[in-house]
């Protein structure tokens, strides 16, 4: 394998592009935008190359690994590396960035104030941190990226969001920061314990299998879990998401819901389970119940929303319930499904959010009641909206179906009752999506809806890769599963979990005796 620091390149390039975008002459906004878009394609090329070079069945856990000592006194390393899960998440992140740049092409002009270069520079800065948080193999470095991500999002919501953007940005920041601080306390605890065991390091590999007494382990687990639960977000610490989603531009929300929230569930899978396996098992029933509550509550509240952006935020809360359950059922099917769900949810929610954004920019309102009969005036828009919606409700043939089915199947192996209740979320999903579709797209053309024009070429360009992903991964999820499955197998091994034999197989063995 080549020794070129690909991951550092992937990290550094967007950051440098952001700097370039900021210092470009302000006069010509179109050049700035084109430059930002052009820059954002380079990471896509890099990740495509890495994907082709990635060896899913390699013996080492992390590939393209880099390791430099950063803070000797604390045993902190600048250590990067990817396993299948991280690779999939990074790919999702870097693909979404050019998409949102195209989709948000005229956001600043439509808003009437703000600096175009700054808007796109923040996206690129955010890209660096998103790649970093998934690629970090040092827990301290992970924490730094985890916290650093807040800054660009904060400015994207506060400076470029809606009228109550400052409030939403503040709420988002405070929630995340509280979570981050709790995680910091746990991080320090982890370090103290690793020092007592004579390791004194933050490297992920050194921290695996650390000996600690059960109560400490539970506390530390809770510290990390709290941060990730806020990030994901799980009910009852979810209230920042609808506000943020409503106030931010659709482009920002896509990255917020599509990628940043996944950091929460990714963190559970990467840190909570392998570092504190016994505690994780002890807390599993609680977490599963939380996930279940999230599925049902998110879905029911979504049905009652009048604002489309809030509705989608609540559907995401419902979906994160599925993902969390998938992570915590401790079966490889559930966890692979959850990882696949993270990717698919990223694409399908992104598509849905961007389409809603197009609708809002045309009609000047996000209220469901202000629409109706859109499919008559903008059939392509309506059609794509239906496709994205169907993917979100996990129709067979759409990518989300595969992952949702895997999660439910994996859950059923361990906890049939939970799986049964969770299934009701599927029905509720159909309700909230189809009701929204019915009210906005069908029926007579509502008053003021005539202004809704068909999608233009730029908008179609932004949405088409997403729709392609929905369909391709719906019929053929193998490329993602191939890289994810071996990584999940390793996680299962680290937490000492064994897949239960399917019921039928148990009967067979008995018959064999």
């Amino acid at each position: 394998m080549s020794t070129f620091p690909w991951l550092t390149a992937l990290l550094a390039f967007p950051l440098m592009s952001a700097a370039v975008v900021m210092v470009m002459p302000k006069g010509n906004a179109a050049t700035v935008k084109r430059a930002a878009f052009g820059f954002s394609l380079v990471p896509v090329a890099i990740i495509a190359y890495l994907w082709s070079q990635f060896d899913a069945n390699a013996t080492e856990q992390f590939q393209f690994a880099e390791n430099t000592e950063w803070i000797r006194g604390w045993g902190v390393h600048y250590a990067l590396g990817v396993d299948g899960i991280a690779l999939a998440m990074i790919a999702l992140s870097v693909i979404l960035v050019p998409v949102v740049i195209i989709a948000g092409w005229n956001d600043v002009e439509n808003r009437g104030s703000g600096n175009v270069a700054e808007y796109f520079a923040w996206f690129l800065v955010l890209e660096t941190f998103m790649v970093g948080v998934f690629a970090a193999t040092d827990v301290f470095l992970f924490y730094v990226f985890f916290e650093a991500m807040l800054v660009p999002v904060y400015f994207l919501i506060g400076r470029f969001g809606g009228p109550r953007g400052a409030f939403a940005a503040m709420k988002f920041f405070i929630y995340s920061l509280v979570g981050g601080l709790i995680m910091l306390a746990a991080l320090i605890g982890l370090y103290v314990i690793s020092s007592r065991n004579g390791i004194g390091s933050f490297a992920y590999a050194d921290l695996l299998g650390l000996k600690m007494d059960p109560n400490t382990q539970k506390l530390l687990f809770l510290g990390f879990f709290a941060a990730f639960a806020i990030k994901a977000p799980l009910v009852p610490v979810h209230t920042w998401l609808p506000d943020a989603a409503q106030q931010a531009t659709p482009a920002t929300t896509v990255l917020l819901v599509g990628v940043l929230d996944k950091v929460g569930t990714f963190g559970m899978l990467r840190l909570c389970l392998p570092l504190f396996p016994e505690a994780a098992r002890w807390f599993t029933p609680t977490v599963l119940i939380l996930g279940l509550v999230g599925i049902i509550y998110g879905a029911i509240v979504a049905i009652g929303q009048t604002d489309m952006r809030r509705l989608i935020a609540f559907t995401s809360i419902s979906h994160f319930g599925f993902i969390t359950i998938g992570v915590f059922v401790m079966t490889s099917l559930g966890q692979s499904g959850a990882t696949l769900y993270m990717v698919n949810h990223g694409f399908s929610t992104a598509a849905l959010l961007l389409l809603v954004g197009y609708l809002i920019s045309r009609r000047g309102s996000a209220r469901i009641a202000d629409f109706g009969g859109v499919h008559k005036v903008a059939p392509v828009l309506a059609g794509l909206f239906l496709v994205a919606g169907l993917s979100s409700l996990a129709l067979p043939g759409m990518s989300s179906f595969v992952s949702e089915f895997m999660v439910l199947q994996g859950t059923f192996l361990q906890h049939p009752v939970i799986a049964l209740i969770a299934t009701s979320g599927v029905v509720l999903a159909a309700t909230y999506i189809l009701v929204m579709y019915k009210r906005t797209m069908t029926g007579p053309v509502g008053q003021g809806v005539e202004v809704v024009t068909e999608l233009n070429r730029r908008e179609i360009w932004a949405i088409s890769p997403l729709v392609a992903a929905l369909l391709v991964f719906g019929f053929f999820p193998k490329p993602v599963l191939d890289v994810v499955n071996p990584a999940i197998a390793r996680v299962m091994q680290q937490i000492g979990a064994v897949d239960p034999q399917p019921r039928v197989a148990v009967v067979d063995t008995k018959a064999g005796q």
Partner: protein, 512 residues
């Protein structure tokens, strides 16, 4: 019985060199005031001040590897003391740069042209019109600095008291010398003086009780006495509590912090910038030496006391800052909360705890000084614009100032990649042990509250429309250099914490 023969005490003058240099320079400054004409005074005073500070700094650096008790036990020259001295001297240079600034205020520097003139009187107007400046501030400042660097090396209770007074008395005066809002400034000076005198009295009374219990004044001997004779422990503890109250007053720990918001608000901002950092660093140096050397045997008794004060400081500082509208008061309450963090580190009575507190002191001072320096630049026609509402929209009006201040606020909040995070990490990781883990959790939760009011300022700077009558003065090189040094240090210690960790590691432990 005849009088005992007098033996000359043996004093290592080299150990005292930095203090002497400053003391002599300050005396020289007084002479300059008496004999040099008005036109030359300012230049000469600046020369003496900066010259002596740099020479003192050089002397302090040469003592970097000392580890000895000197001057018949009165002084301790060890790594922590020298590290704090170096920090204090750098802060003093930064503070002097800010005090020398004459471009920020159109009328001259930040100090009243003649303090004796009644505010609002014709005299005052006349002095202002003639463009006179106060130059007594420089010798006063040098006296304060010499007291501050004596403080962390004081190894007996009397020397400690003298250092405390040397630091405090000139500051009482300097606080009252603001050019603008003079009544507020004078009120602050009076409050500071009355409460400070009260705290000094408590310190002295405590020192007397400790002497009564142990018959000793040097910290090492007090520790021995405490270990050998347990019959006087309660007397010793009462004395220790009183001494600690006196010192906690100086560091501004709650519930002994009442003076700090008023004084921080009323004092000329350049003085606030200096004293917010210097008194904390110097007095905490003394607190740590007292606790770690003199009272180490009694740690089970004082730990709960310090823990309680730490938690109260963090709670009071963070929650009171939430409702402030004046930016200097916000920073004052934030410094109360930070005092709590430093004490949290000290709870671990081991080298790690010492290292945690030292790291915190070395890093915090620069952030706080720079924050106040920025405050002095945002002005309205009436003087500094200290109301947070006046800072609205600063991000649009003056992006660089707003960005620097944002960075400093993030450092105060302890976000990663700033020195504030480094400090918080070291402090909390040293205290993470046994029951003190509870204090760590309190610290983490109050940092979340604290983050809110730092953010509130950032929000108002970036997300609100700008105010018309507010302007950011473009300062002279002096202030820019001062802020630059502080921000540079904050950045370096944030990105490469190893730098400060290595310094603290080299400093090692207290000599006993």
């Amino acid at each position: 019985m005849g009088p005992q023969p007098f033996t000359m005490p043996h004093i290592e003058y080299s150990a005292l060199a930095p203090v002497f240099v400053l003391f002599v320079a300050a005396t020289l400054g007084v002479l300059i005031e008496a004999f040099v004409g008005r036109t030359l005074r300012r230049q000469l005073q600046l020369l003496v001040t900066f010259g002596s500070l740099i020479i003192a700094l050089a002397f302090a650096i040469t003592q970097w590897s000392s580890h000895a008790v000197v001057a018949e036990g009165a002084l301790a020259l060890d790594g922590p003391a020298v590290l704090l001295q170096i920090t204090l001297l750098v802060i003093a240079i930064v503070g002097a740069l800010l005090m020398a600034e004459t471009k920020a205020d159109p009328a001259g520097d930040a100090f009243a042209p003649r303090t004796s003139a009644i505010p609002g009187s014709d005299d005052e107007r006349e002095f202002t019109m003639r463009g006179w400046t106060q130059t007594e501030i420089w010798p006063l400042f040098l006296f304060a600095v010499s007291g501050s660097i004596l403080f962390p090396m004081a190894n007996d209770l009397l020397t400690m008291f003298i250092a405390l007074e040397m630091l405090s008395l000139p500051l009482y005066l300097l606080v009252g010398m603001s050019r603008r809002r003079r009544l507020l400034s004078q009120e602050a000076a009076l409050k500071y003086f009355v409460l400070g005198a009260f705290a000094s009295a408590l310190f002295l009374f405590g020192a007397a009780l400790i002497y009564a219990a142990s018959g000793e004044l040097t910290l090492g001997a007090i520790a021995n006495a405490a270990n050998q004779d347990s019959s006087t422990t309660s007397l010793m503890l009462i004395g220790a509590v009183l001494v600690l109250v006196g010192l906690f007053f100086k560091v501004g720990a709650a519930p002994f912090h009442q003076w700090s918001p008023d004084v921080y608000q009323g004092a000329p901002t350049a003085i606030t910038a200096y004293m917010s950092a210097a008194t904390k660093i110097a007095a905490f140096g003394a607190v740590m030496r007292l606790l770690y050397v003199g009272l180490q045997g009694l740690q089970w008794d004082w730990q709960p006391v310090v823990a309680t004060v730490a938690v109260i400081s963090m709670l009071v500082g963070s929650s009171a800052a939430l409702v402030q509208t004046n930016i200097k008061r916000v920073l004052a309450y934030s410094s109360v909360a930070h005092a709590g963090f430093i004490m949290t580190a000290m709870l671990a009575v081991n080298p790690r705890g010492l290292a945690g507190a030292l790291t915190y002191l070395v890093t915090y001072g620069f952030v706080s000084t720079a924050a106040f320096a920025v405050v002095s630049l945002v002005r309205s026609p009436a003087g500094e614009a200290n109301d947070i509402s006046q800072w609205a929209g600063l991000g649009r009006k003056s992006p660089v100032t707003a960005a620097v201040f944002t960075f400093l606020l993030l450092a105060l909040a302890g976000l990663p990649l700033t020195s504030g995070f480094t400090a918080k990490f070291v402090a909390l990781s040293s205290a993470w042990n046994g029951w003190t883990g509870g204090v760590v959790i309190a610290a983490v939760l109050t940092s979340a509250v604290a983050a809110f009011f730092y953010l509130r300022i950032i929000v108002s700077m970036y997300f609100s429309p700008a105010k018309d009558d507010i302007s950011v003065t473009v300062p002279s090189t002096l202030t820019r250099l001062a802020i630059g040094v502080c921000v540079g240090i904050t950045t370096v210690f944030g990105f490469a914490p190893q730098a400060v960790l290595a310094l603290v590691e080299h400093a090692g432990v207290f000599v006993s």
